[in-house]
Homo-oligomer: 204 residues x 2
Amino acid sequence: MATRTRLNPEQRRNQLLDLGAELFANQPFEEVWIEKVAEAAGVSRGLLYHYFPNKRAFFSAMLRREAARMSELTRPDSSLPVREQLLAGIEAYLDYCAAHPMGVRSVYRGAASADPEVREIIESDLRIQEARILGALSPGAVHPLMRVAVRSWLQFLRAACHEWLVSRDVGRDELRDLCARVLVGVVTTLPDDARPPGAIELLG
Amino acid sequence: MATRTRLNPEQRRNQLLDLGAELFANQPFEEVWIEKVAEAAGVSRGLLYHYFPNKRAFFSAMLRREAARMSELTRPDSSLPVREQLLAGIEAYLDYCAAHPMGVRSVYRGAASADPEVREIIESDLRIQEARILGALSPGAVHPLMRVAVRSWLQFLRAACHEWLVSRDVGRDELRDLCARVLVGVVTTLPDDARPPGAIELLG
């Protein structure tokens, strides 16, 4: 097969996914032609289809890798105070969304969100974020209401970020502050028996 | 066509949708056979298909009607203080979810949520709820950050309710209180220029 660059299969796959991530970042899912990825990589369409039989498969492979990357980007630095760790996580999430606006929109409520595999990747990412927040705030057993609160706050964050990408009429920093303060509020507002001991101090 | 009861087309359609709402309330979308609706209504499958060509069409017709019904159930009583209006809305929403657990789950993250028509119905319902909350709290112009905050809180509420239906390990009233307090917190935490004047007092 004629290709401009000799890459082993894993390198080739990664190259294609990198190019795809760029493409999907700025174009709605429906408008992306993955054949353009083959073009940009200088490979035949046949080779592209060999790695990814269709757009859906390509998109979910890309998303799986992006989710892993985002999970790294938002990995908390446990040497920092908890409040800073959480803020840094929100910052990293917003930065990622700003760099991949169309991809995030497609996944949140657009065409890609209908795919069960896409939903499963998002779900698993949410579980990671949830476990990190709960781990930071609640080293012991987690009260069910605390878990519901944090899980629901993650949906607050996703929705707020989606709104920001769609309407662009609020500033990034005011959005970040809103989400951070709401998380503090969510934890603060829990009944005493549901709130992990010391959580308010950790967030203060 | 032989039917046990003579109904005009609109009555028949409503009867079928009523029976469907019951069926979908307690069974996951994938497990519902709409042919059972024909059976329960004492009509032929042919007649059912005449009204609704397939399960998806049946489900979205049912959901559209349910959304309209829910919108009525949660209509705020403007003679009440704003805080009571919002609480009553949350109560009505939770009661509805408790009565239709499987339907709500299918729509939130289950099989039905992949359908663009279903998403559009949900989206339009969210817009109604958002307009009501904003109307009650912010009679004048709405700051974009206030809109984002309320819209995101509605996703908090949906997520919390979904969690409650799935894991059943938190009480209904503690969930209601959490959601209500978080709404107050969301509004309270907005910067002064984004918060509608008097909103904290209205919620207090």
